[in-house]
């Protein structure tokens, strides 16, 4: 009898400890890691009283010599299928602002210029991702929770349509969603071809499978392929439009930023891409400390 009482008591103790512990764990505690996901690299965005035009001259403008750049390693995207295939090893990034606009320049090696779309033909592309909040909660494994991000997605095929490179061919190759006669190899009545305002899509995403164009497309850009190298300039007004789905870039502040590159010739498209880790983007004010801008 005494033994039974002891056993029942022990069982009661264990169950009580479990219930109390679970209550406290579930409802009382919450700890954020203070050192979580701190980017190792910093990309300084100096203030320069200049602009660059969206042209080949702009891409090679000597001003880029005065802007600090970072060469960032790229890794295949493997969080969601289809996975990347390590098609581009690195991207060199530089950025500056003139108080009104911010300019990014992305450069990466690519032996082929792919600006066409078709069946199993994919375009080269790159993107800049800016989280929508100042201190984004770090990504978490498996479930891919994100705070939401504003993504500037430049695509060579789009660029060709906007800026006229080989435009006729691009038009005819472009897939449509209005009507498709199944026995024709491609769309024969391209009647819903909306005008494209920019080579860069201004997008927003809140987790996997939620990529959506923003109502206001405010990012411009243009890319040039020369001697096996893409150079792409992207620019947007520094001041945000106030919408909740646009990333703010306050002067004097730091934000997280990440970059992605697609090599169409190697089958990159959609989630199949190469990505950088987070980089700290430091937007310097006009009166930047000595040595903060330039090389």
């Amino acid at each position: 009898m005494r033994r039974t009482i002891i056993i029942v008591g022990l069982i009661g103790l264990v169950v009580s400890l479990f219930l109390v512990g679970s209550y406290y764990a579930l409802f009382r505690y919450r700890t954020f890691p203070p050192a979580a996901d701190q980017p190792m690299e910093t990309l300084d965005v100096p203030y320069l009283e200049r602009s660059v035009e969206l042209s080949e001259r702009g891409a090679e403008d000597p001003i880029w010599q005065r802007v600090p750049s970072k060469t960032l390693p790229l890794a295949p995207q493997v969080t969601a299928i289809p996975w990347g295939r390590a098609s581009v090893p690195e991207v060199t990034v530089a950025a500056f602002h003139n108080g009104e606009r911010i300019f990014f320049r992305l450069q990466w090696r690519d032996p082929t210029e792919d600006h066409q779309l078709g069946r199993d033909v994919f375009s080269d592309a790159c993107a800049v991702m800016l989280p929508l909040v100042e201190h984004p909660q770090p990504n978490t494994i498996m479930m891919g929770f994100l705070e939401g991000a504003n993504i500037w997605a430049w695509k060579a095929a789009r660029d060709a349509q906007v800026w006229g490179g080989d435009s006729a061919r691009v038009q005819s190759e472009r897939p449509y969603a209005d009507y498709y006669y199944p026995f024709e190899p491609r769309e024969v009545f391209p009647i819903t071809n909306e005008p494209i305002p920019s080579a860069v899509e201004d997008l927003v995403a809140r987790g996997v499978g939620t990529l959506t164009p923003r109502a206001h497309q405010r990012v411009q850009g243009r890319g040039f392929w020369k001697k096996g190298m893409w150079t792409v300039i992207l620019t947007r007004a520094l001041a945000a439009d106030g919408a909740a789905d646009e990333a703010a870039l306050p002067i004097g502040g730091t934000r997280a930023v990440a970059f992605a590159v697609w090599d169409g010739a190697k089958g990159d498209r959609g989630a199949r891409k190469s990505i950088t880790g987070w980089v700290r983007l430091r937007v310097w004010p006009a009166e930047a400390p000595a040595g903060a801008s330039g090389r």
């Binding site: 039974t4 890691p33 979580a36 494994i141």
Partner: protein, 474 residues
């Protein structure tokens, strides 16, 4: 393929006795083994529980010691090394039933042996006969995966799960005899048992004749050197790894040093044509099904599915549970049934359909294990670098114990990952085909009927592999 050879290469009877080395035998016969390993894991899991306790519901999973060690490191090690190579070696050192077993024995190190037996504290009741199989573990493991979206991202959920397991193991240890919790309840025990039949390691009798002559079987009833098998096996007679928890008590109790730890070819226990049952068949299919669901949910591009699994809405979560359960309990077993029915028709033999179904289910084990290994590669290679962070700052209190708290997320060998996954799946398929052909010969008496009967099963295995390849590396 040659009869009696694994993949036509290694004789199924080939064994290499690891305990032939005196230091290995001494180590395994010492009462420090596995106690030292268990005590280390008790410390580790104490830290894990604390990290889960203080982590709350909203801390990011990849910066939580509990989540990273349990779901990234432990799970991946379990699936890639421990089970396929070392059988149930995790059970050897598992700290979760430690408290319960301690209470039962009332000894930590020494052996309690009084009046010719090992007395145990507790009510020492018998587990109900109707539950003496894998069904409960099947249901509990499946139910646990309903909450997998929480366990991998919410530290408190991991705390509750582990604490529940510990509490339940203590309660059951006080009511029931021996390792009842491990045998019939522990959610991860069932698949370890089934998949351990593929493992490269075993604990077995060396010379059965010695046991036949032996009058006092200490391996079952215990003696002053050790406890009778806590896993309720008769160590002198068992022939499969399924329920051997590798506690090495039988090595300690055997007066003739007649127990051995052997290396052996993979998969040989899957050919042991006894004790096969529908519970284990379902376990095999559930494991295969869950591997697919996990991959689709956690690594697939379907954000809606992630939202469902994460209970963004109640209706979405219930939909996830409904689909997940239906897929594993109804759809996949029904698809397999179709192939099995085809196998029976093709063989033109009057073997009961249930027997054909159960027998061939064991052929899915290598492929299922390969699917889990491939899935695990997709977890550890991109996310393993977070481990360095949590080692330095286990409670997210800003510590930097080893100077790695600020180590950034660094995917490792992710470019090679698809190739490693393809290789893993193809190796799994190869073993599954080998097992399926041999089981066909066991199931259908005539050799020609066996060949005919194997084809539909090979079709199932091939189609499953193609599906997995498409999912993993599409």
């Amino acid at each position: 393929m040659r009869e009696g050879y694994v993949l036509g290469l290694i004789p199924e009877t080939w064994r290499f006795e690891l305990t032939r080395f005196p230091w290995v035998r001494r180590l395994l016969k010492s009462r420090w083994m596995p106690l030292a390993l268990i005590l280390f894991n008790v410390f580790l899991f104490t830290v894990i529980l604390m990290a889960g306790f203080f982590g709350g519901l909203t801390s990011p999973g990849n910066y939580n010691f509990g989540i990273m060690i349990v779901w990234i490191l432990w799970w991946v090690l379990l699936m890639t090394v421990l089970v396929p190579v070392l059988s149930r070696f995790w059970c050897t050192m598992c700290p979760l039933p430690f408290l319960g077993e301690w209470l039962q024995r009332l000894r930590l190190f020494s052996v309690r042996y009084e009046r010719g037996r090992n007395p145990y504290f507790g009510l020492n009741k018998r587990w109900p006969r109707s539950l003496s199989n894998m069904w409960l573990m099947n249901i509990l493991f499946l139910a646990t995966t309903f909450a997998s979206g929480f366990f991998t991202v919410r530290p408190a959920a991991t705390f509750v799960l582990l604490a529940a397991i510990i509490a339940l193991s203590v309660v059951l240890s006080l009511i029931y005899r021996a390792r009842t919790f491990c045998l019939y309840v522990c959610p991860v025990s069932g698949f370890q048992g089934l998949y351990s039949n593929f493992a490269l390691t075993e604990v077995r009798v060396k010379d059965p004749e010695i046991c036949a002559r032996h009058k006092q079987k200490g391996c079952v009833v215990g003696n002053e050197r050790g406890y009778g098998c806590p896993w309720l096996l008769l160590p002198y007679a068992f022939r499969r790894n399924t329920y051997c928890g590798m506690c090495f008590e039988c090595l300690k109790t055997c007066e003739y040093d007649n127990m051995a730890v052997n290396l052996r070819p993979p998969g040989v226990d899957l050919l042991v044509d006894e004790k096969r049952g529908l519970d284990e068949a379902y376990k095999a299919l559930i494991m295969l099904g869950i591997a697919i669901v996990f991959f689709v949910t956690f690594q697939g591009p379907w954000g809606t599915l992630k939202d469902w699994a994460n209970a963004a809405t109640l209706s979405g979560y219930l939909t996830f549970i409904g689909l997940h359960a239906s897929w594993n309990l109804l759809v996949l077993p029904a698809i397999f049934l179709l192939f099995v029915w085809g196998a029976r028709r093709a063989a033109r033999q009057s073997v009961p359909l249930k027997k054909v179904y159960v027998n061939f289910s064991y052929a899915t084990v290598p492929l299922g294990l390969a699917a889990w290994i491939a899935f695990s590669l997709g977890i550890i290679l991109p996310n393993g670098s977070y481990l360095l962070h949590v080692l330095s700052d286990p409670f997210a209190w800003g510590w930097n114990l080893f100077g790695t708290a600020h180590f950034p997320w660094t995917p490792v060998l992710t470019g090679l990952m698809p190739y490693l996954m393809i290789l893993t799946l193809l190796i799994g398929l190869l073993f599954s085909i080998d097992i399926a052909l041999k089981i066909a010969r066991q199931t259908f008496a005539e050799p020609e009927a066996a060949v005919r009967g194997a084809f539909p099963i090979l079709g199932f295995l091939g189609a499953t592999t193609l599906g997995l390849l498409w999912l993993f590396v599409g």
